[in-house]
């Protein structure tokens, strides 16, 4: 008999349970409790989208109007029937609150209810609305019966979506249960996990032990060096898949010696990509080729890549007037991120070989960020960053990270200024909906512009993974929703 209960030892905590506000690790659970209208399918699938609460949509000619047909007979957890009103209510609540990832709806003009099961989104600009509506954040549909409830109420451990699971027994910071919602529209025929106990577990070591001792069927993160053992374990395995997450190192281009493009290039050549992949990620990464992760729209082999070449690095340094290096740089990383802690010393060690002393500082993320933003003159020289797109379109990444933000950037921490680049990506964005090929070409050009100036060293694209029990079937990774295990698709043997 198949087991209905499973334990998930998860390092992903909950910062808020309000689906309109959620913009953090709780998405791991949100996507199991709430649903969006549509969902992006992993690359290589037959269809681009799966249809959840919507059964289909069509766009107007100019790309400003999208009409969605909604699924009938769907119920919220409290029994409220799902209608177009719920869609309008949910999205307007999100934009009204204006928190979290609400900005993705920035170009929304209005939502019009056509009838109970038809709704129209009117946009101000031609944006890829289906991607937005499929976003892992800010696009969940919640029950209009929760109208008088505020964020605080949700944060007490309440939820009311249409997803296959209901939130139960919520103990903040300890554990919570995702329990089967009997009236789920998908039904419970076939093998499905019915109850998931999420055991909040921060330490990788403990997750490993829980997995190995059979206390957990899947975990979020295990010590890097234990992947081989888990992969080849008797009862354990690791499920891999692409993720649209990548690591990068911003160079502070406002200050010598990094204001010299040759120095930056030298550094980009001196980064030990292979070591970072092998040791920093235990092989679970590929060398990045620019800001757009492999598999995502906008990625292309045509983008120039910097390879590890210490000879070239030395030569470039000499050309730049630093024949034996001889300068110091500071590198900061987020203290919460064990991955960065692990590979930062590799960079440091390698840079030492070309005569550059790197001082590594672990700062709490917000401190690191503030330091980088506040004043370029006092900012760190190298800033390590883990990035993931809010929805799977390159524009957000390219725009956020490198468009000219002046002296008070939010994300352009290289202080990179290139009007040609800004123009290129704007054009690409606007053509995405109508001429994808043209858009891709523009994006490649834009990326090569960046590579020529080398304000950022693109380190690695991460391979997503879930260490899990061999008995757990149906676990897969959808790069558009990194970190979301869709429990409904799983079952235990």
């Amino acid at each position: 008999a198949a087991e209905k209960n499973m334990v998930f030892a998860s390092p992903y905590g909950i910062t808020t349970l309000d689906p309109s506000v959620s913009y953090s690790t709780e998405l791991t659970y949100m996507a199991n409790i709430y649903e969006t209208l549509i969902r992006v399918n992993p690359p290589g699938s037959k269809e681009r989208f799966s249809y959840l609460l919507a059964t289909g949509f069509n766009a107007s000619e100019n790309g400003l109007k999208y009409t969605f047909n909604l699924r009938k007979g769907v119920k919220f957890h409290d029994g409220t029937p799902f209608t177009a009103e719920a869609v309008k209510y949910s999205i307007e609540r999100t934009t009204g609150l204006g928190k979290g990832a609400a900005f993705i709806w920035g170009d929304l003009a209005s939502i019009d209810i056509v009838d109970d099961y038809t709704v129209t989104f009117v946009m101000k600009q031609a944006v890829p609305l289906p991607l937005i509506a499929a976003s892992a954040y800010a696009s969940y549909i919640l029950s209009p019966s929760m109208k008088d409830k505020d964020t605080a109420w949700f944060d007490q451990g309440h939820a009311c979506g249409t997803g296959p699971y209901m939130l139960k027994n919520y103990k903040d910071g300890e554990s919570w249960m995702l329990a089967k919602f009997d009236d789920y529209w998908g039904g419970w025929k076939g093998p499905h996990v019915e109850n998931v106990l999420v055991k909040y577990t921060k330490e990788a070591l403990i997750q490993l032990q829980m997995l190995q001792s059979g206390q957990a069927a899947m975990v979020g993160r295990i010590p890097l060096d234990s992947y081989p053992a888990v992969k080849s374990g008797k009862d354990t395995t690791v499920v891999y898949g692409p993720s649209y997450q990548n690591y990068m190192a911003f160079f502070n281009t406002t200050r010598p010696p990094l204001d010299n493009v040759k120095v930056r290039k030298a550094l980009a050549h001196a980064i030990p990509y292979k070591d970072i992949i092998d040791i920093g990620f235990n092989g679970m990464a590929t060398q990045a080729r620019g800001p757009v992760p492999k598999g995502q729209f906008g990625y292309s082999e045509k983008v120039v890549q910097y390879n590890y070449d210490i000879g070239k690095a030395k030569k470039l340094l000499a050309e730049a007037g630093y024949p034996n290096g001889g300068f110091n740089l500071t590198l900061t990383y987020a203290a919460e991120n064990p991955q960065e802690a692990r590979f930062a010393p590799l960079i440091q060690s390698e840079f030492k070989k070309i005569g550059i002393d790197v001082e590594i500082k672990a700062l709490v993320w917000t401190s690191q960020w503030s330091q980088a933003k506040a004043d370029p003159k006092n900012a760190q020289d190298i800033f390590l960053l883990l990035w993931w797109p809010t929805y799977s379109d390159p524009y957000e990444t390219l725009f956020s990270l490198l468009h000219d933000e002046g002296d008070k950037p939010a994300w352009n921490l290289a202080y990179y200024k290139n009007p040609a680049y800004d123009e290129l990506i704007r054009q690409a964005y606007e053509t995405t909906g109508s001429q994808p090929e043209k858009a891709l070409e523009l994006y490649v050009n834009a990326q090569n512009l960046i590579q020529a100036d080398c304000p950022v060293a693109w380190l690695v694209d991460i391979v997503g993974n879930w260490p899990a029990s061999k008995r757990l079937k149906g676990l897969a990774i959808n790069p558009a929703y990194p970190n979301v295990p869709f429990f409904y698709d799983m079952h235990l043997e």
Binding site: V7, T15, D18, G173, I206, M210, A410
Partner: protein
Amino acid sequence: MSLVPFLSRRLIGLAVMLVALSALVFFFSRSIPGDVAAMYIGGMAKPEQIERARQELGLDQPLTLQYVKYMKKLLSGDLGISLRTHRPVFQDLLEKIPMSMEVVLWAIALAMVLGIGFGGLAALRQGTWIDEGIKWLSSAAVSIPIFFLALLLQLIFFNLLGWFPLQGRIDTFLEFSNPLELVTGFSLIDSLLTGNHAAFFNVAWHMVLPVLSLIAYPLGLITRLTRSSLLEVMSQDYILAARASGIRESVLFFRYGLRNALSPVLTVVGLSVALTLLATFYVEIIFNWPGIGYYALTAILSLDYPVLMGVTLMIGTVYVVANTSMDILRRIVDPRIK
């Protein structure tokens, strides 16, 4: 002499201390670089969003005004809202404190009983191998870093021997069959209150290793102190006089000597409470114990200053309360103390 003025003096002291403490924490935590509003919004927020949050949180006002507002709210038990979880800090603390205090109190109580026992035994058998053994063990106990001890205990008792559970306060399978329902937050008490006996024993079993890790330092400290204090007391005139009047050695030791030796021990017990509470930071990480330490640690890593303030005030209060109650005990035990 009497307890009432003493207590009221201590209470006033406590209040003053907390005000000072809160000011310190407030201005200190606000001097930490990091955009609080951005943090509150979370993720990759847009500048206008951050600006809105800044206003919402009142961060655009002068710092002193913010402090005054904070204090006003504090008086009504409102510690503000966590920037990270967006939940009221006070409520979070109410949930987390019992979880940590449960282990801390067990550790302290056991450390006190065992420490006084071992210390007494060592003093009683001064110079013998028992004394030597206890001396070595207590030296070792205060010398081992808590995180290392916890790791070792886990390695030995879970991985090698499998006697004790790895993590958490209750086995996961019980969460399906007999989920722990919280009433007071003290899981042992709650499991009894809700008649959940399976959970009771399970929770107790889960507590063993964390308590063992926490106990080491205070136990060593108390043992050593009891021993030396008792030895000093046992050479006092009044003990000699009592012995000369034919009082039985055991009575002499455990009734006369121990009570006299207790006063410095109690001081250390008081200090140990706050110390052990801090030590839970480590133990909770290693044993995945969802208490205040874990909570504070997460807060600190995300610069969640309302939480930090709450935690600091709480630990400061625990410190003062523990010390005060130990002072009261000391006055009861030793009438000479003014």
